[in-house]
C-alpha cells in the first residue's frame, strides 16, 4: 500500500480531535538557528513544469518540507525559496508527480550545520 503517484495520489485526513492537537509553528523562528552559505547565482531547486503543479490537487510539498521552502503564491503557482533548503531530498522523493528539479548545491554552498 505504498503511496500512490500522479493523479491517483489522494490525501488522507487525521481524525479531527487528533489534528486539533497540532500547534501552528512559525517555521522562520526555527530557521533563524541555521547557518547557510547562500548561492546567490544558482538555485538548486526548481519546479519542472508549473502546469503539472496546477493539476496537483493536494500539493503535499506545501506541508511535508521540513523548512517550508514551498509556498503557494497568489497566482496559484508554487514558489521555491531555495535559500532555506537543508538538502534532505524529501521534495524530490515525496512529490506525487516527481515534478521537483533537485540537485546538490555548488560545492561549499547551502546549509552548514554547526551542531548536526
Amino acid at each position: 500500500m505504498a503511496m500512490k503517484r500522479g493523479d491517483e495520489f489522494t490525501a488522507k485526513e487525521l481524525p479531527k480531535e487528533l489534528k486539533d492537537t497540532l500547534p501552528t509553528v512559525y517555521v522562520d523562528d526555527m530557521l533563524m538557528s541555521l547557518k547557510y552559505f547562500v548561492d546567490e547565482e544558482q538555485a538548486h531547486l526548481w519546479i519542472k513544469d508549473h502546469a503539472v503543479c496546477a493539476r496537483c490537487q493536494y500539493k503535499p510539498c506545501l506541508y511535508f518540507c521540513p523548512v517550508g521552502v514551498y509556498t503557494l503564491a497568489k497566482d496559484g503557482k508554487i514558489q521555491v525559496s531555495y535559500q532555506a533548503c537543508v538538502e534532505c531530498g524529501s521534495c524530490r522523493v515525496g512529490c506525487p508527480y516527481s515534478n521537483i528539479g533537485w540537485k546538490l548545491p555548488r560545492g561549499g554552498y547551502g546549509v552548514a550545520y554547526k551542531f548536526g
Binding site: A2, T10, Y63, V86, R92, L104, Y113, F115
Partner: protein, 447 residues
Amino acid sequence: MTHHSTPAKQAIQFDVIVVGAGLAGSAAAMVAARKGLNVALVERGQKPGGKNYFGGAIYTHAIAEVLPDFMELNPPFERPVTEAGFWFLHPDGGMTRMTVRGGKLDRAPADAYTTLRARFDPWWAEQAQKAGALLVPKTTVVDFIRDSEGAVIGVQTDRPQGEMYAPVVIICEGVNNLLAQKLGLKDRDLEPAHVALGFKQVIFLPKELIQARFGLQNDQQGVAVSVLGDVSLGLPGMGFVYTNKDSISVGLGMMLDVLAEYRLKPYDILQRYLSHPAIAPLVEGGQLVEYGAHLIPEGGWRDMPRLYTAGALVAGDAAAMVNALHWEGTNMAIIAGKLAGETAIEAHSRGDFSAKTMSRYEDRLRQSFILQDLQQYRNFSRFLEQHPQFMDVYPRFLNDALGNFFTAYGKPKKQLFKDIYAALTQRRPLLKAAGDIIAMGRSVMGW
C-alpha cells in the same frame, strides 16, 4: 557520462577517490591511505559534517575496527550512553519508561556515545588526513568519467577544470544516492514509503540542568532513548531523545509517504512532541541552537543498489545500509567504508580494477554482520508498513495495561486483568494480535 580515452595532460590523478567525508567516506579514505595509497576525500560541504544530521549516537565497536586507539585521540563524543531504552508517550500526558541503566553500559569506553555530527565528522576526517588522505572540501561530484569499456576511471566535479582521475572511486554520497543511480547501480530513485524523514532540534541547556533532569551524576553519563506512541500522532514513526554535553537532541522520524498523504508539517509535529507533558519539563528554559532534517533509508535490503561495478564501490547510507529496528546505520557505514578501503588496496596490489575484483567488497560485506543483518531484516520495513498497529495500537495497549496494572483502585484483581484484556481486544481481536506477533517474528528472523 563523459567518455575519455586518455586522461588530460596534467590530469589530477589519485589512487582512490572517495566521494563524501562522512562516516563511511572518511573510514574508507583512512584505511586506503594507511596502506600508502594516494587518496582524495572529496567533500561538498564547507567542512566535513556540515551536511550531516542524525539522532544520534555512534557505536564504538565500529570506530575501534578502523581506529583501535581512538580513545587516546580524545574523539569529540558528547556523552557515553549509560541509559538506553524506550519511552511510551500516552495521549493523556503520561509516559511509560522501559530502560536499561548502568551495569554493562558503564563500561569504558562505552558501547555508544551521543554525538553531534558537525563536531565529530571533522575529527573523523582529520584521522583520514593524518593517515595521508587529501581532504578536498567545497567540491561537489556530479558525474563519472568512464573508459571505453565503461569502467569508472574518475569523477567530474562541478568546478571548472573539475575532472579527477583514479582507478577506484568509493561512493559515500549519503542517502540521496543520485551518483549510484547515475552509474546505473540502481534503476529508480528512493520511494516515499521506504524512507523516513528525521527532523530534530538541538536545545542548549546548562550541563548541571541536563544531569539533574535526566538523573545523571556527571558528564560521563548519558541517555539515549527511543520514544513511541503519541510522539508521531500514532502514525508510523519513532521519536528519540539524546543527551549531549550541554545540549539535548530531541526529534523524531516519520515515514515520508505518511507525512505526504496526511499533509503534516514536521515542525508542527516536533513542537507538539516538545510540548508533551512528559517531554516539556526536560526541555523547559532551553535555547534552540539548531533545527534540521535528514532522510533515513529505512528500506534497507529492498532499496540497496548494486554495491560494485568496474572501478567503483558504494558504502554507507548511499547503499541504504540502515537497520531501522536496532537504530543501526552509523556502525554499518563505518565498517562498510573500511571494507571498501580494503577492497581498493587489494585491487591496487593486483593492478586489476575489474568488476570481478570489486566484487570482493560484497564478499567482505557478506562475511560481516552488515549483509547478514540487512538480509535478515529485509522484510521488516515492509512488515512495519503492513502492520501499523505496532506504532499505534500496541503502544497504546501497553500504556493502558501498565497504567491499570500500577493503579490499585480496590477492585478484585480478576477485574483488573479483564480490563487489561479488554484494552487489547477492543483495539485488536486476539487472533489478529497473535498473527501480528508471528508476522513480526518472521520478519525479524528473516524466514
